[in-house]
Symmetry: D2
Subunit: 157 residues, 4 copies
C-alpha cells in the first residue's frame, strides 16, 4: 500500500448549521480546500506537498473540472479548534481524468480517532483554451503515482 497525503484543514464555527454540527454541503468545501492545497503550486515562500504541480491561476494552461463527487457521511462533525485531518489518495489515474479519494478524520492528536466521512471525486484535466479534456502530463503522473491506493468501496449504493 502506498502513501496518503495528510492535510490539516481548519474548521470554522460558521461551518455549523442549525443542528450544531458541520453542514453536509459545507463538507465539500473542506474537501475542496484539501484539494487546492494538494494540487496547486505554492506561492513563493509557501510550502506544499509534492503533488502540488498544477498552476494555481485560472488563466493557466490546464483547468481541473470536477465531473462527479460522492460522499458518505459517517459521523457528525462538532466544532473544534484543532484542524481536521483530510487524507487523500488516488484511486485511479486515467488518460485525462483521475479519481481522488478522501477520508475526513479528527486531528491525529486526539486519543480517539474518528472517521467522519469518505468521498470520491472524478476530476478531468481540460485545456484552458479549448475546454476539451487533455492527457495527464508525465510530470503529473510522476507526482501523483506514489499516492495511488485502493478506491473507496461505499456501503450504500
Amino acid at each position: 500500500m502506498n502513501d496518503r497525503l495528510h492535510l490539516p484543514i481548519h474548521l470554522r464555527w460558521g461551518d455549523l448549521d442549525a443542528y450544531n454540527h458541520v453542514n453536509n454541503a459545507t463538507m465539500l468545501k473542506l474537501l475542496e480546500e484539501a484539494r487546492v492545497r494538494a494540487f496547486w503550486q505554492p506561492l513563493p515562500g509557501e510550502s506544499a506537498p509534492p503533488t502540488a504541480v498544477l498552476a494555481s491561476q485560472p488563466e493557466a494552461g490546464v483547468h481541473t473540472l470536477i465531473a462527479r463527487q460522492e460522499i458518505e457521511y459517517l459521523e457528525p462533525i462538532p466544532y473544534h479548534r484543532d484542524p481536521l485531518e483530510v487524507q487523500m489518495w488516488f484511486g485511479k489515474l486515467g488518460g485525462s481524468s483521475l479519481e481522488v479519494c478522501y477520508e475526513i478524520y479528527n486531528n491525529p492528536g486526539h486519543p480517539a480517532r474518528v472517521l467522519y466521512a469518505r468521498s470520491t471525486a472524478i476530476i478531468v484535466i481540460v485545456d484552458a483554451n479549448t475546454g476539451k479534456p487533455t492527457r495527464l502530463t508525465e510530470a503529473m503522473r510522476e507526482a501523483w503515482e506514489p499516492y495511488r491506493g485502493e478506491p473507496i468501496q461505499y456501503r450504500r449504493r
Copy 2:
C-alpha cells in the same frame, strides 16, 4: 412515469467562485434548500408542496440524516436572476430510508433548457430521541409515493 416536484431555487451572485460560475460545493447548498422546501411543513401562511410532511424543528419527533450523496456536474452554472428549477423525485422508498433524486435545470422560461447537474441523496429517518433509524410512517409513504420514479443512472462510476 410519475410526477416530479419542481422547485424554484434562487441563485446568489455570492454562489460563484473565482471561475465565475456556481461553486461545485455550493450546488449541494442549492439541493439542500430544495429538500427543505420539499419536505418541511410550511409555517402558518406559507405554502408548500404535498410532500412537505416533516416537522421543521430540530426538536421534532424525527430527524432526517443524509447518509450519502452523489452529484454529477454536467454544465457550469452562470449567475442569473431567474430561479433555477430543481426537479426532485424518489428513486426508492425503503423501510427507514429513501433515495431522493435531483436534476438542476435553468428556469422553465428559458427557450433553451439546460440540465446542469444530477444528484442522488440517501436519507435516513431517525428517531430524535434515540438517534436510531425509525420506519417511514404511513403519512410519509402516502405523501411521497406519487413522486416515485426511476433512480438516476450515472455515466461515470
Copy 3:
C-alpha cells in the same frame, strides 16, 4: 421623501447558524445579493429595477468597490420560505462614491412587519483598467437620483 427599491431576497435554511437564526455574517451576503440585483444590468429576458445601469461583468469598464460597510442587528431572522424584503436607497451620491442604505424586513405579506437590520455601504466607482476612482456618469446619476433619501442614523456609535 423619495422612493425606495424593494427587493425580494430568498433565505436558505443553510443561512442559519448553530443558534438557529440567520448568521450575522451571512446577512451581508443577503445585502450583496440585493445590491447585485439593484445595480447590474439584467441579462436578455430578465427584468431589473431602473437603477440597474452597471455592466455585470468583471471585465466591464467600471468596477464597484465597497470601501466600508456598517450593519446594525435589531432582531434575529428565523428561516422562512417567503423572501425577505430588502429596501434600498441612496443616502448620498458623491463625486465618485455613493452611500447605499438598506433595511431588511420580513415579507410585505406578513401581518406584523419586522425590521431585522439596517446597513450602510460606501461604494466607490473605479475604472477597471487603472483601478482609480472615476466620476459617476450622468446615466448613473439619473438612474439613482430618484432613490435618494435620508442616511441612516445609528443608535450605537
Copy 4:
C-alpha cells in the same frame, strides 16, 4: 499601549468570489472565527488565549449578541495558504457590552505586511434565559482588561 490578541485564521480558496479575491461578506466570517477562538473556552486538550472565558455552548448561562458591526476594506485579499493574522483588542468595556476592534493582516512571516481591513463590533452580553442584557462579570473584566486599546478611527464616515 496594551496588548493585542494575534489569531491565525486560515483562508479557503472557496472564500474567493468571481473577482478572485476574498469576498467582502465572507470577511465577516473570518472575524467571526477569530472572535470564537478568542472568547470561547477551549475543549479538553485544546489551547486558547487568556480571553477565552465564555462557555461555548448555546445552552450556556450567557449569550453574546452582536448589536452592530462596521468594517473598512483597505486592500483586496488574495488566496494564500498561510493563515491571515487577525489582531483583536477591546476599544471599550461597558456595563453589559463591549467594543471589539479587529485588524486583518497577512501572515507575520511575510516580508511586506499588509493591512487588509479594520472592523469594530459591538457585543452585548445577554442572559440566556431572559434574553436581557446582563452585566459583565469580574472574570470577564479581568480577562479582557489587559487587551484594552484605542478604538478604531474610520476614515470615511
